[in-house]
Amino acid sequence: MKLVYFAWVREKVGKSGEDVSPPPTVETVTQLIDWLIAQGDNYRVAFGDMKIIRVAVNQQYVTTDTPVQPGDEVAFFPPVTGG
């Protein structure tokens, strides 16, 4: 599973992306985040306030109850500020 991070989520996690292989019990975005938080303080800090985290799976906006699976590209980022 490919994870990508943008803006201050990227800065707090400390990298712009990574390939991860969470256990099969990780079936949704929420479970993926919980698993990441258990991997280190950088994730705990980045995902500390989920109200200001947006998630895209395979480049489409999703809610946190969306399923994830091996091969997916999952992106985490703050509310956007383009335009």
């Binding site: 480049q59 980022f77 956007v80 500020t81 383009g82």
Partner: protein, 156 residues
């Protein structure tokens, strides 16, 4: 047509290319967003726009298709820049052309409202001392502006 690029753009050239001799067009609406020197009361020296390559192009193409389905447009163009920009620089261009001016205006506003709230771009501002950098926070009034398009299937 959508483009995500570092380079600047010229609105006259883009409009000419979009019109491309289509004589059914009666009105062309365009919007250019520019970098202001003040952000939340503080002067900035530059702004760096990060985006999500791949998702950006896909999302912009999707919203362009939605605008074309919703209004009778003869042409539609979105250009969004990324990278380092300075006060006064152009950030974004939306151009809509139609036989009828109200469709051109409505589609142009719909697209810029959408870009402000959904296009995966993030602005990192640098203060005038060069050291202080901070990420721009999303603006609640932009969300309200975008939401108005959910209530109406057709504003023409």
């Amino acid at each position: 047509m959508i483009r995500v690029q570092q380079e600047d753009f010229d609105v006259s050239r883009e409009i000419a290319s979009l019109r491309a001799g289509d004589l059914s067009i009666g009105g062309i609406c365009s919007f250019i967003g520019t970098v202001r020197e003040l952000s939340g009361g503080a002067a900035i020296s530059s702004m760096t726009l990060e985006h999500y390559p791949g998702m950006t192009e896909r999302a912009l193409s999707d919203i362009e298709a939605q605008a074309c389905a919703r209004w009778p447009l003869s042409g539609c163009l979105i250009i969004h820049r990324y990278g380092k920009l300075e006060p006064g620089d152009q950030i974004v261009l939306v151009v809509t052309a139609s036989a009828h001016r109200q469709a051109a205006f409505d589609a142009c506003q719909f697209l810029i409202d959408w870009l402000k709230t959904k296009a995966p771009f993030w602005k990192l501002e640098a203060g005038t001392d060069g050291a202080d950098k901070h990420w721009v926070e999303a603006n609640g009034s932009d969300t309200l502006a975008a939401n108005r398009w959910d209530d109406t299937q057709d504003k023409t």
